[in-house]
């Protein structure tokens, strides 16, 4: 068991495995996305207060979740790469950053589109919006720092420290609603209380979140494969790959 799993910490073995996994995760993303969008647009009832405009929640909430979750995953892999000096972990962190930044941006964008009809303004300086914006900046900082350092191993380690420092910010995002208690509505989904929304809405949101999750996995795997090829281009296993043969 352990021999089989540890083997895949090496780019040489992970590369073909990742290639095999990408179609499956893409397929799952399409299935969950289709189910979530169908539930969101056709099944979920119209909200009594917010009308049809609330339906952007199906994208907004999932994107916010993924942006925070991906930062944690990125920091986790960066930390593993830093402490165990494993190349693949650091590559995974680098591969996750652009997807996380994209979801943070998507969350801000959809939040603005949702805020205009509901609050009458595109943007409010509310704690959660602001924290999401900070998270977006943290992603940009991580990407910029790694891009500025030429030597890949140093870029990995410096990025890892930045990610671990920034990870302090993610809990602040989550608890900021309780700390500052402002305009933004409370968390829509709570584990301790019964959900205050229709079951179909919750299901649609979960489907979309799963779709984003599977999409993130597929895209991160594609990107990590590209990074592996780029960094290991002088090694023998890359030279022997069928796809790089002339």
């Amino acid at each position: 068991m352990s021999v089989i799993t540890w083997k895949y910490a090496s780019p040489q073995y992970f590369y073909p495995l990742a290639g095999k996994m990408i179609p499956w995760f893409s397929l799952l993303a399409v299935i969950f996305g289709a189910a979530g969008l169908w539930l969101g647009f056709f099944v979920a009832p119209t909200d009594a207060q917010q009308g049809e405009g609330y339906r952007i929640i199906f994208i907004h909430v999932g994107a916010s979740w993924m942006s925070m979750f991906l930062y944690l995953v990125m920091a986790f892999w960066a930390g593993i790469g830093l402490s165990f000096n494993t190349r693949l972990s650091s590559m995974m962190a680098t591969a996750l950053a652009p997807t996380g930044a994209m979801f943070a941006f998507l969350s801000l964008w959809t939040g603005a589109l949702w805020g205009k009809p509901m609050w009458g303004t595109w943007w409010v300086w509310d704690a959660r919006l602001t924290s999401e914006l900070i998270l977006f900046f943290l992603y940009l900082g991580f990407i910029a720092l790694q891009a500025a350092i030429d030597e890949p191993r140093r870029a990995d380690k410096a990025g890892a420290i930045l990610a671990l420092v920034g990870v302090v910010n993610v809990p602040i995002i989550y608890f900021s609603v309780k700390w500052w208690n402002t305009l933004h509505q409370g968390a829509s989904v709570s584990l301790t209380q019964a959900p205050s929304m229709a079951k179909t809405m919750l299901l649609g949101m979960l489907m979309m979140a799963l779709c984003f999750w599977m999409y993130s996995v597929a895209v991160a795997l594609m990107r990590v494969r590209a990074i592996m090829l780029e960094r290991e281009r002088h090694s023998e296993w890359v030279a022997n790959l069928r796809e790089v043969q002339p």
């Binding site: 900082g141 720092l145 500025a148 350092i149 420290i161």
Partner: protein, 224 residues
């Protein structure tokens, strides 16, 4: 030499180096004064408005001034090899780094705290609000030096490090800004600044504990 002796030796050395280059020290201080003086010129001289924006403007100006001086923290020592000698010395690097951060605060942070009441007067703040401003800056500027040191160490010797350090540290400064400016605002509006100041102190405690450690790790990567 005991830990305190090492710390004071590093602080004394860094202060001496800073005093030999007075212009660099004064630049960030004058930057603070000029930025704070520009806002009334851009916004207008209505006293009510100025009183309202004073905490935020002064804090943002202090934040930018503290950030400007960050590249001085390690860059010179890195360029002439002092930093490598420090890393090779038998004394823990974290201790030396703490000393350098303390010296940086004494040179770049403390002057801001001392001049802030004067700038606050330009914004017609009450004596009580001025006191809260000074306390909030006294708690906040060391926090800025500590967090900034991480960014300075990460961007050491990196292309375009000066701009990059702002991208890395400014988002991390935001909690300090919120609670620092919030303390003065809360005091002006009669809510009491104790809560904000306590949170600021908590952040400072956390940073004193973790920031030198993270900075040391970043420096070791840069020196590899």
């Amino acid at each position: 030499m005991n830990a305190f002796g090492v710390l004071s030796a590093v602080v004394r050395r860094d202060l001496l180096v800073a005093l030999r280059r007075k212009s660099e020290v004064l630049t960030s201080l004058f930057f603070f004064v000029i930025v704070a003086s520009l806002f009334p010129l851009g916004i207008g001289s209505e006293m009510d408005l100025l009183r309202k924006i004073a905490p935020g403007v002064l804090w943002v100006a202090a934040l930018l001034a503290a950030m400007l001086s960050l590249n001085r923290l390690f860059a010179n020592d890195h360029a002439d090899g002092t930093l490598e000698q420090m890393a090779l010395s038998p004394v823990p690097l974290g201790l030396l780094v703490s000393g350098k951060i303390l010296a940086h605060w004494l040179v770049a942070g403390l002057p801001l705290v001392l001049i802030a009441p004067l700038l606050g007067l330009q914004y017609d703040l009450s004596p009580r609000a001025l006191l809260v401003l000074v306390i909030s800056l006294l708690l906040g500027t060391p926090l800025l030096s500590l967090i900034g040191a991480i960014g300075a160490a990460l961007t050491l010797g990196v292309r375009g490090g000066g701009v990059l350090v702002s991208l890395l540290t400014l988002p991390l400064y935001i909690p300090a800004l919120i609670f620092g400016a919030g303390a003065v605002e809360a005091d002006i509006s009669g809510l009491g600044a104790a809560g904000h100041l306590s949170l600021l102190a908590a952040l400072l405690t956390l940073a004193v504990f973790f920031a030198p450690w993270a900075t040391t790790a970043a420096l070791k990567i840069a020196l590899e």
